[in-house]
Amino acid sequence: MIDMNLKDLLKKVGRKKAVTIFILFLICIGGVIFTENDYFLYDRTIAEVVSASEELTRSSPALINSKEYQYTQRLTVEIKNGVHKGKFATVTNKYSSSLVTDEKYSKGDKLFVDVNGSGDTLKATCTGVKRDVYAVGVTMLFALTIVIVGGKKGALSLLSVTLNTLIFAAAIEFYHRGLDLFGLCLAAAFLFTAASLTIVSGVNKKTAAAVISALCGTAVTIAIAYTVLKLTKGRGVRFDQMQYLIKPYEEIFISELLVGGLGAIMDISITMSSSMSELIDRDSSITFSALRHSGREIGKDIMGTMTNVLLFTYVCGCIPLIILALRNNVTLTDVLNNYLDLEIVRAFVGGIGIVLTIPIAIFISTHMLKGTKKISPQPKEGDA
């Protein structure tokens, strides 16, 4: 039964698409194999672990009725590039069972090493792990799934993601050269919105309505966030806990809020404007109040899941730090106050953006889309 359906599907998917996907698949595999062997691209010496032995050197009572075991690993590595290419070296690595700041290596791992000494018995120290193959592999997995599932639309989304990443990189570069970060993010937000909505849904009235609603929604949200931040002087939020301690915190944080909420706001705007235009297309005599009512119903449906998406996206990042602190006997209240507040603020501001954009998008798209629909049959009313 299911087999029949699968055959059906294959027919519908078509040979051309199957071939495209197959080629894409080969490219992805090729990409991964290439990064697996791209030693010549690096100046740093890379070595592959060929054998590893380890011994338990010490065990000590860890925090909270558990034990911590310390191991010493003796690794034999084969050097893959540079002057010692092809030679073997030994590396000693210490790690403890929690692996909080250290790493346990096993056969096949690729490491960056500093080689010291010469002759037949080389010694080396490990300075890091070669992770590029995982970054490339996961990117390929994402690209493959998005194209297989989304077809042409998926490819366009991939293009939009790439474009947005480039805009973002450019904004950071300009900031580094001394321009104001918040101003840059405003400009980038405008570009992001226009570019991604146009790529996803083409140049038309619907997109224009979505772009305007997204920009208005973002502006109002940031105004609210900024006012609250200034009025409370950021009280209750530990900016000094912000990752990597870069100054000025406040400017960076408000810019992060701006960009972080933008995606969700754009999502809401395009959903609202396209359902509004669908409703108007179906029934051009639909009244403003009926439109507003349906818009609010759709809005209610999407706001719950959207706010949760943001919540999880933000909060999950601080889980390791919270666990480290809790294991160190810091009380739950202190941990939550210190490490969760920034993420909760982000999620709340994003949520405010989502909820605010619903009525804004309803207002803008009813007026823009409905207004133009009226002009053609009854020009006089449209003028009035």
Binding site: I64, N164, H176, E256, G260, K300, M303
Partner: protein, 271 residues
């Protein structure tokens, strides 16, 4: 500040969404509490992966069943989320452990310098817990969007076959892709910003960035969640197409389900 923003959010949600808005806000808080409990249990030494999977199920229950009611749409969405979660738990376990992204990087030294690293708890499991939590937020939205849209399609065209339903599920999924990827991308870019500024400030080279632990921790999580978001589309479409077409013989069952759903629908539209 959190309190004021929270109050503003609550007021807005009630103003825009009425009772359902209040429910949404409560669900958000419930999720925060479930997350805190999950993290607390992991810190107590309970198996991180098991706790996370259970925690994610509870979160799924809160988002799906409590806000949208128990019906064929939410049950199927739940089943598809569970499937993708288990599938990606395996993928993420492999990626997470073989790329050595557990724990903290050198760049985090200042943050963690007060704490002892001898915590007697395997950080690889914590990393997996983190990746799965990020994934569930991303896929729930898509799963429910597809199952509820397919339900409407079936309502309007009861004679559609399973493969036809699957194909229209995929079509609906394709419409969501662009916006979902953007929501996720921007949410992550917002968090990523300090890190990228740090990289630029300290003049990291491209090869240093792409191989660094701190970058890979975020990047691998983001992009594998993205892949999860794509995978949920065919899974949800297939499951929903299957459960819609295989419910048919039990006519009465379908009817009671519809009638039990009836009041909640009118409820929401009346508000």
């Amino acid at each position: 500040m959190e309190f004021i923003l929270g109050t503003i959010l609550l007021i807005l949600m009630i103003a825009v969404g009425g009772v359902r808005g209040a429910k949404t806000f409560a669900a958000m808080y419930a999720n925060i509490i479930v997350l805190i409990i999950t993290v607390f249990l992991i810190a107590c030494g309970v198996n991180a992966v098991a706790v996370t999977l259970i925690g994610c199920s509870v979160i799924g229950v809160v988002i799906l069943f409590w806000i949208n009611g128990v019906n064929i749409k939410t049950v199927t969405a739940f089943a598809s989320i569970a499937t993708v979660l288990l599938l990606f738990a395996a993928v993420m376990l492999y990626i997470g452990s073989s790329s050595h992204i557990q724990g903290f990087a050198d760049e985090n030294t200042e943050e963690i310098c007060w704490y002892s690293p001898d915590i007697g708890l395997d950080m690889r499991q914590v990393t997996l817990a983190m990746m799965l939590t990020g994934l569930i937020g991303a896929i729930t939205d898509t799963a429910i969007a597809i199952t509820s849209a397919l339900y409407e399609v079936r309502e309007n065209n009861p004679e559609l076959s399973m493969s036809e339903l699957f194909i229209s599920g995929m079509n609906i999924g394709r419409d969501i892709i662009g916006t979902t990827t953007n929501t996720l991308l921007f949410a992550y870019i917002g968090e990523f910003m300090t890190l990228v500024i740090w990289f630029r400030e300290y003049e990291y080279s491209f090869s240093e960035i792409i191989n660094s632990k701190v970058f890979c921790q975020d990047f691998l999580q983001i992009v594998s969640s993205g892949a999860g978001c794509m995978t949920i589309i065919p899974v949800a479409a297939l499951f929903m197409a299957y459960s819609l077409t295989h419910r048919k013989p039990r006519e009465t069952d379908g009817e009671t389900e519809q009638s039990s759903e009836g009041p909640s629908m009118t409820d929401s539209s009346a508000i």
